[in-house]
């Protein structure tokens, strides 16, 4: 058997799109700089050559226009992939993506679905300041009718994106600029199709459950490693999708560990983290030794200064502190 193939997160995304475009002519990609420039972050590199300008479509800086256009195309039965250079820029398209796509099926009484994928970089990219550092999962996951996936590794990036493209509902697919260069083993072809709503245990442990998703999974693993040296054993659960949310996996783990820390890089107020914590409180009421502790981004707009941004974001140190507090090891 050949050695396990390792590719970057960005390559995994491209493979998912290209494979799905080969098997289904209804799938196409549109967004700013996706074609001739090969993608602002090189995710779509080479795709123009393979699929041509009718399926890899450069758009002007008109998010509201092209997102809405893609939604119309999806109502007619096509399966668009819309790339937002950053999810921060999706805010100018809030009406089509939140008010149209997720509600179309419902308000048409089941007549018109919206099989579309919106994808792009989410989260603080590194000193990008207040307007460019959105973690949209906090705000957007509030909306029923949409699905949301947040992969934390290259194999999940591919497996979840393929599932997203085949899904008949609108999927909000949140990538991270900070992870695009991350390498990992990724199977070829259809060997990898990751179902939505199935969390992945990234590390087993007995003392505390850390539930998280996206880039903070890596901070949690780093924290778990550090805490293990002090004899605190953490189980790290990667939720992978926020809608659907695999509460069961967390509940099963908490029944074993009796403590839980939720790490969420969006703001705390009305967030996926607060939703998960609330569900754990409900379903593990008699199992918990402490309330569910949460680590979030600070409740302020994103700052530019390097040191302030470090202070703003979740990190391994903050997760360690939360685990110690939750397990009475403070």
């Amino acid at each position: 058997m050949s050695a396990l193939r390792e590719i970057e997160y960005r390559d995994a995304l491209r493979e998912a799109m290209a494979e799905e475009m080969r098997r289904d002519k209804r799938v196409f990609l549109l967004g700013e700089e996706v074609a001739e420039y090969n993608g602002a972050y090189k995710v779509s590199k080479g795709m123009l050559e393979e699929f041509g300008a009718s399926r890899i479509i450069d758009t002007p800086i008109s998010e509201s226009g092209f997102a809405g256009m893609a939604i119309g195309a999806a109502m007619q039965g096509l399966r668009p992939i819309v790339e937002f250079m950053s999810w921060s820029f999706s805010l100018v398209a809030a009406d089509p993506i939140l008010n149209n796509a997720p509600k179309m099926l419902y308000m048409s009484g089941g007549q018109f679905g919206c099989p579309i994928v919106f994808r792009g970089n989410d989260g603080a990219g590194g000193q990008l300041g207040s307007t460019h550092s959105w973690c949209v999962e906090g705000m957007y996951s509030n909306v029923p009718g949409l699905k949301m996936a947040i992969p934390s590794t290259p194999d999940d990036a591919k497996g979840l994106l393929k599932t997203a493209i085949r899904d008949d509902d609108p999927v909000f697919f949140l990538e991270s600029e900070r992870m695009l260069g991350m390498k990992g083993h990724v199977p070829e072809g259809d060997e990898i199709l990751v179902p939505f709503g199935k969390a992945r245990t990234r590390r087993e442990g007995t003392d505390c459950t850390i539930a998280t998703w996206g880039r903070p999974v890596h901070f949690a693993l780093e924290a778990a490693e550090a805490l293990a040296k002090d004899g605190i054993s953490c189980e790290v659960i990667d939720m992978r999708t926020i809608r659907p949310l695999d509460v069961g996996s967390v509940v099963r783990s908490v029944k074993k560990t009796s403590t839980c820390v939720v790490v969420d890089q969006s703001w705390s107020f009305g967030s996926p983290g607060s939703e998960l914590a609330s569900q754990v409180h409900r379903h593990c009421f008699d199992d918990l030794d402490n309330y569910v502790h949460r680590v979030h981004t600070a409740d302020v707009p994103a700052p530019y200064a390097f040191n302030l941004e470090q202070e703003y974001l979740p990190n391994a140190r903050k997760i360690c502190e939360a685990v110690r507090a939750a397990t009475y090891n403070a």
Binding site: E36, P60, F89, H293, A298, D299
Partner: protein, 391 residues
């Protein structure tokens, strides 16, 4: 029979719907300003260029983070436009904003310290390269979301007109300059703003810094009627003109006529200002979408060189004076880099200040709250972590 109610005698609302009266043709006054003025413009352009060169270095040295968009090549635009404005006229722009900030009078020190993310920056290091704000100089920011500043510019102009006409009962005295890139022509926000400006007689000038590209997309691939952008404004009842942006004298003359007209008639304008950015879109752009020949052709008409030759020819400056001027500029920029480097990083507690003018109740200060349990100085808008604090 006329069933409509009789109009009252004063039918004119202050923010009245534009009636489509023809614009008087503007005839720029092309008389050359005095040598002292041109020297100032030359120095301002040199300062912006040198500042940007040092920004690029500092970015390589990782002193500056995030996105950094330099203004090299477009210096005449900011300098010429600002020269045509009055100090009390508001200015707002996009993220390529260092040039506007400096032209408006922000000190190079405050600007560079902001780039470095230090407390002495114009926004205490909280805003960064894309968000240069300077209240005393009526600079209402750089704005990062493409097109976002266009309704804001409209609002600034609405407010100055409101102050002058409604609150003071006088005549409109101020004009807002709202800069945007050619890429922003394709944002819905601009079109809504233009319609409102045309409709309500708002004295805002939308200045399109048409440098031919938005990132890697040439204007001809990005927008319709790229050969005649004026046509975009005409449908909104907005007067429009093309102004040269590589020759500061031309920029000044054209913009002066436009701004004077906007002020006098309280009407919006739309300007297709032709220029070129010499460098990449940001620090990580190999510029494969254009040719070196094209770049050289534009560089041959460099705005700084053009003004300098003009002044030398007219005897408004000597070669030695110009050399001295550049030396002074270099020293000023070296100083601002050293200043920025020596300026402290913001205290961690600054993370929690400036979120609200008045958080729930009196503002309790800015010390860093401890991670899990709050602490004495926890600002009150922070989520309460300790149950005891709720009792």
């Amino acid at each position: 029979m006329n069933t409509m109610s009789t109009p009252s005698t004063d039918t004119r609302r202050l923010f009245d719907v534009h009636r489509g009266e023809a614009a008087p043709r503007i005839a720029p006054d092309r008389s050359v300003p005095p040598a002292a003025t041109l020297k100032k413009w030359l120095r301002d352009m040199m300062l912006i260029r040198e500042f940007e060169v040092r920004c690029m270095q500092a970015y390589q040295d990782k002193k500056i983070g995030g996105f950094c968009h330099v203004y090299i090549g477009q210096e005449a635009v900011a300098v010429g436009c600002v020269a045509a404005m009055k100090h009390e006229d508001p200015l707002v722009t996009a993220y390529r904003d260092h040039g506007h900030a400096l032209a408006r009078g922000m000190s190079a020190r405050a600007c560079m310290a902001e780039m470095f993310g230090r407390v002495d920056g114009c926004a205490k290091g909280k805003g960064g390269s894309m968000h240069m704000f300077d209240k005393p100089n009526n600079m209402f920011g750089g704005h990062g979301i493409v097109g976002a500043q266009t309704p804001l510019g409209l609002g600034l102009a609405f407010a100055t007109k409101y102050e002058d006409e409604v609150m003071r009962g006088g005549k409109n005295t101020r004009v807002t300059l709202c800069f945007l890139g050619d890429g922003a022509l394709n944002q819905g926000a601009l079109h809504e703003a233009m319609n409102l400006a045309g409709l309500m007689n708002i004295p805002v000038v939308f200045v399109v810094e048409n440098n031919g590209y938005s990132m890697g997309t040439s204007i001809h691939r990005g927008t319709t009627m790229a050969h005649d952008l004026k046509s975009k404004a005409i449908g909104y009842g907005i007067d429009a003109a093309v102004v040269e942006g590589m020759d500061v004298l031309e920029t000044y003359h054209g913009m002066k006529a436009v701004i004077d007209d906007a002020r006098a008639r309280s009407r919006p304008w739309f300007i297709d200002l032709r220029c070129y950015r010499y460098k990449g879109h940001s620090m990580s752009d190999p510029r494969k979408y254009r040719t070196r020949d094209e770049e050289e052709a534009w560089e041959a008409g460099d705005p700084i060189g053009t003004l300098e030759s003009f002044m030398l020819e007219k005897g408004m400056i000597t070669a030695d004076e110009s050399k001295e001027m550049l030396k002074g500029v270099k020293a000023e920029v070296r100083d601002c880099v050293a200043f920025a480097d020596a300026s402290p990083v913001p205290a961690d507690g600054e993370l929690y200040t400036d979120v609200y003018m008045e958080p729930w109740g009196p503002y309790p200060g800015s010390s860093k709250p401890s991670m899990m349990g709050g602490g004495e100085n926890t600002p009150s808008f922070r989520a309460i972590e300790r149950s005891e604090d709720l009792l």
